[in-house]
């Protein structure tokens, strides 16, 4: 029996223009109430929270709305002796938060304020014999961590510190029948994971290993009648997949395979007209995570001149990446 397609219907009264000033308010209010429930309950990923907020503000051209010195010192304080970064004091270092910290510091041109040598040795120390990366010493392996590792190292121009051939070999062992990638060998393709692996291959200059037509087709099939993108077949659309799918397509030179106008419409419909910020789907609670990925996707779509250009590999403003020794690879057709 045919089942109804999983999607949402966009109501007529949803926002259709960018409420940038509201989003800036939403972002700058992040963490102003230290006792806020959501803020407190997400302490364990604070560093990433800060990265989402800072990057979104930077893309909106309002980085200076938050005190740079405070931000930098809060980040620097989170570097452990091991060289890795914890999400916030009292927590343990992890490669996820290490990348967020490095991204923030690069955006503020403050990377020199940390111990880069110990950072490099922390990241390279997480590589295993088979080329994969663990998130911390407790052994979880995931292609997300492979991306974090090469993104971190390339941002400080130290890709030489790891066994690159092995690292690439591992990521390629996670490729699937549909041209996509999963979290580990055998795991199902997922747009977030695909972004990590395609981003990884763009940093390491190995994009030719991807079947770009096959994967690009899978990615553009994520677009649903509502215009929104899902992360896997038969799933609901979500603003954050606008980023994971779109950035991958952009790196593969196939951004034009989705319908831009309809996607823009879906993303704009996910804005919260009261508080500002974007949610995953229209009518849900907004948060900094979806706010960044909503703005970044609009930037890639090039339809909103008030948002600065974003780099699809690093999810950082392009103007912050001028210092890189080698630019991430892009495909064209």
């Amino acid at each position: 029996m045919a089942k109804p397609m999983r999607d949402v219907v966009l109501a007529k009264d949803l926002p259709s223009s960018l409420l940038l000033e509201k989003h800036i308010e939403f972002l700058t209010s992040y963490g102003t109430d230290k006792n806020d429930y959501e803020f407190c309950m997400t302490e364990y990923m604070r560093m990433s929270g800060m990265y989402w907020v800072m990057t979104a503000l930077n893309l909106a051209g309002c980085q200076d709305r938050l005190p740079a010195e405070e931000v930098i010192s809060a980040v620097v304080k989170c570097q452990e002796e091991s060289g890795g970064f914890m999400a916030s004091p009292g927590h343990d270092a992890h490669i996820l938060y290490t990348l967020s910290a490095v991204q923030i510091l690069v955006m503020y041109d403050a990377i020199d304020q940390i111990n880069i040598e110990s950072l490099v040795s922390y990241v390279s120390g997480l590589q295993k014999e088979d080329g994969s990366f663990v998130g911390d010493k407790w052994g979880e392996v995931d292609t997300r961590f492979s991306f974090c590792a090469v993104a971190c190292l390339s941002l400080v121009n130290r890709l030489d510190a790891i066994n690159m051939d092995k690292a690439v070999e591992f990521v390629m062992s996670c490729m699937n029948f549909d041209g996509g990638f999963g979290s580990c060998p055998g795991a199902e393709s997922h747009a977030g994971q695909i972004y990590c692996c395609v981003g990884f291959l763009s940093i390491t200059g190995e994009l030719h290993r991807v079947d770009a037509d096959l994967l690009g087709w899978w990615l553009c099939e994520r677009q649903l009648p509502s215009g929104g993108l899902n992360g896997r077949p038969e799933k609901l659309p979500d603003v954050c997949y606008s980023w994971w799918v779109l950035s991958s397509l952009s790196i593969l030179g196939r951004l034009h395979w989705v319908h831009k106008g309809q996607l823009v419409k879906f993303i704009l419909a996910c804005q919260d007209t009261e508080t500002g910020g974007f949610s995953d789907r229209p009518g849900d609670m907004p948060d900094p995570f979806h706010t960044l990925f909503g703005l970044a996707a609009l930037s890639l779509l090039g339809e909103s001149p008030s948002i600065k250009p974003v780099d699809p590999t690093y999810c950082m403003p392009v103007h912050c990446l001028q210092h890189l020794n080698s630019k991430p690879q892009r495909l064209h057709i």
């Binding site: 029996m1 045919a2 089942k3 397609m5 006792n35 429930y37 959501e38 407190c40 309950m41 364990y44 990923m45 009292g90 927590h91 343990d92 992890h94 911390d136 407790w138 052994g139 979880e140 699937n176 029948f177 549909d178 999963g182 580990c184 055998g186 795991a187 199902e188 393709s189 997922h190 200059g205 190995e206 030719h208 690009g216 087709w217 553009c220 099939e221 677009q223 009648p225 215009g227 896997r232 077949p233 038969e234 799933k235 030179g253 196939r254 034009h256 395979w257 989705v258 319908h259 949610s279 995953d280 789907r281 009518g283 849900d284 609670m285 948060d287 979806h290 690879q329 064209h332 057709i333």
Partner: protein, 559 residues
């Protein structure tokens, strides 16, 4: 926050919620503060397990708390009996189960469960497998649970055939289970590998699988899962790495390959009966780190005439492959142009299955002519069965898809462009390739044009950066009249290009012409009919010459 609906509440409800939340914040702060103290003091005890459990039941994603539990458990392992350790780890397993029931997508809780099982003195893997089956009946797409299942299967050494049987059962319950089809794509090549290595599975199984998935796809033609899987089964096997073009001459030496390579491993010209390697250096044509077009610069001038036969060698998967070039009558150059191979032949048995499938698709289309998945599958089937017989029908179907599935219209346009270039390259094999008026939106297979001297791309819809023209190392004349080119940003270095015609495009920025200075031989440029060339011609000529001083002819006028 995923899937959390924003609800309107009354003032009282709001206040009640606020108080509850304030209480929770207080509890969290106190508990987490205590953990930090205990860790600093090096305390690894029962209290640590209790407090961290309270917080994790509320927020299972705090990885530091799981870390602390593991520290405590590793410590206990040293001091308690094996039975006690077993009991402890069993309650640990129970905790992850509690957390996963509340939050089935917690990375941390799943990881902790595998860690726990790996440290248990007497792990009951069968119980784990049963739990996975149960979880997957609640949510058949939870990829964390599928991943955990594969972990358990490895540990318990469950035979792949048994897992394949499990996917049979799942698919029988619901065809629309992409996770399950995915798993089959991993299991089948293990259970029934193709002895010839051409297909993913044996021919008999391949036929059977095609029938199964066709049945699934036809049951619900709007469900994506089965169609994706079917496309994989219909897919062409990846062609082997090989040399496709090679040229050795005083002006230019190059090699092109089926697949890009990162380092020119074993890539070398060998000349004379003794196959002496020619000294020199290789670089990629487009300056990227990996490419399928490589340019060779010999250290010394080439001997004239070339002494006997010329070969090109390449390492493929550790083996050395050689191809012989044809030396010209005057002995001054050597050339190789392998006929392109865009379709692998099918065995008669498989061919008949595919024909049956095509027939079935056509019947389905009679009932539902707008089924895009069925239409796209007929394209794939036609391309696989006989791409020449079905050429016109393929193009017609792709045109239909552009109209029908307009969200992905550009995908079908590019696919159409790819096939059109393939058909043309099979027919046109000389120095001149004419791709006029094909409505091309993309230029595929540029490396196969590496030896072409004249390329005509007039009357198409090309518009994106044309950086892949870098492959056209021998192209002297390029015509792109009446396309949609609006910028020359990213225009590559084309070392042989003498004449470039871009009439009636959308160029409106004079500055972008500067990229053409990477083409050192460029003398003739035609920009008539572009916004940039409007207005006073003398003035325009002056401005262009300031950017490109070596031009001899601009817009048809000799300078």
């Amino acid at each position: 926050m995923h899937g959390r609906l924003k609800v309107k509440t009354t003032k009282e409800q709001e206040e009640e919620k606020r108080q509850k939340r304030a209480q929770k914040v207080k509890q969290y702060r106190a508990a987490f503060g205590r953990i930090v103290e205990k860790r600093q003091a090096g305390e690894k005890d029962e209290e640590g397990l209790q407090i961290s459990q309270q917080i994790l039941e509320m927020i299972p994603d705090i990885h530091s708390l799981w870390n602390y539990r593991r520290e405590i458990l590793e410590h206990l392992k040293e001091v308690v009996s094996e039975d006690e350790l077993q009991r402890r780890l069993e309650s640990e397993r129970f905790l992850t189960e509690t957390c996963l029931r509340a939050n089935p997508k917690s990375y941390c809780a799943w990881h902790h469960r595998s860690w726990t099982m790996d440290h248990m003195p007497r792990p009951d893997w069968q119980r784990e497998l049963t739990l996975c089956t149960k979880f997957l009946s609640l949510d058949e797409r939870n990829f964390h649970c599928w991943d955990y299942r594969r972990f358990v299967v490895r540990r318990a050494q469950v035979p792949a055939q048994k897992e394949l049987d499990f996917t049979d059962e799942k698919i029988a319950v619901n065809f629309s289970n992409y996770s399950c089809w995915h798993y089959r794509s991993k299991l089948l090549p293990v259970v029934q590998p193709d002895p010839m290595g051409v297909r993913p599975v044996t021919e008999a199984k391949h036929k059977e699988e095609l029938e199964l998935v066709q049945n699934a796809a036809f049951t619900d033609p709007t469900d994506q899962s089965a169609w994706f899987y079917q496309r994989w089964l219909l897919g062409r096997s990846r062609p082997c790495q090989a040399i496709t073009r090679a040229l050795l001459s005083t002006g230019r030496c190059l090699a092109t390959l089926v697949h890009p390579i990162r380092a020119p491993l074993g890539l070398q010209f060998l000349i004379g009966a003794g196959r002496e390697p020619l000294a020199g250096t290789w670089r990629t044509a487009d300056g990227q780190s990996s490419s399928s077009v490589w340019v060779f610069t010999p250290t010394l001038p080439l001997p004239q005439p070339l002494p006997g036969p010329v070969y090109l060698g390449l390492d493929v998967d550790g083996h050395s492959v050689t191809a012989e070039l044809e030396v010209s009558a005057d002995g001054l150059s050597a050339l190789l142009a392998v006929a392109p191979d865009f379709g692998a032949p099918l065995s008669p048995a498989l061919s008949s299955v595919m024909l049956e499938e095509l027939d079935a698709c056509k019947q389905l289309l009679e009932f539902d002519p707008d089924s895009k998945w069925t239409l796209l599958t007929t394209v794939l089937l036609m391309q696989t069965i006989d791409r020449h017989v079905y050429e016109a029908e393929t193009m017609h179907t792709l045109d239909e898809l552009v109209e029908l599935d307009y969200q992905r219209a550009n995908y079908y346009r590019d696919l159409r462009s790819r096939l059109l270039v393939e058909y043309t390259l099979e027919r046109q094999r000389g120095d001149v390739v004419d791709l006029t008026g094909l409505s091309l939106t993309a230029l595929y297979h540029a490396p196969l044009l590496a030896l072409v001297k004249t390329l005509i791309l007039n009357d198409n819809h090309l518009r994106r950066p044309l950086s892949h023209l870098a492959a056209l190392q021998c192209c002297e004349s390029l015509s792109l009249d009446r396309n949609e080119v609006s910028s020359l940003a990213g225009w590559p270095a084309m070392p042989s290009l003498r004449s470039l015609s871009l009439r009636e495009n959308a160029l409106d920025d004079l500055e972008c012409l500067a990229t053409l200075s990477a083409c050192p031989c460029l003398q003739i440029l035609d920009l008539r009919g572009n916004p940039v060339a409007k207005g006073d011609q003398k003035e325009f000529q002056k401005k262009v010459l300031a950017i490109l001083p070596s031009l001899s002819t601009l817009n048809g006028e000799h300078i």
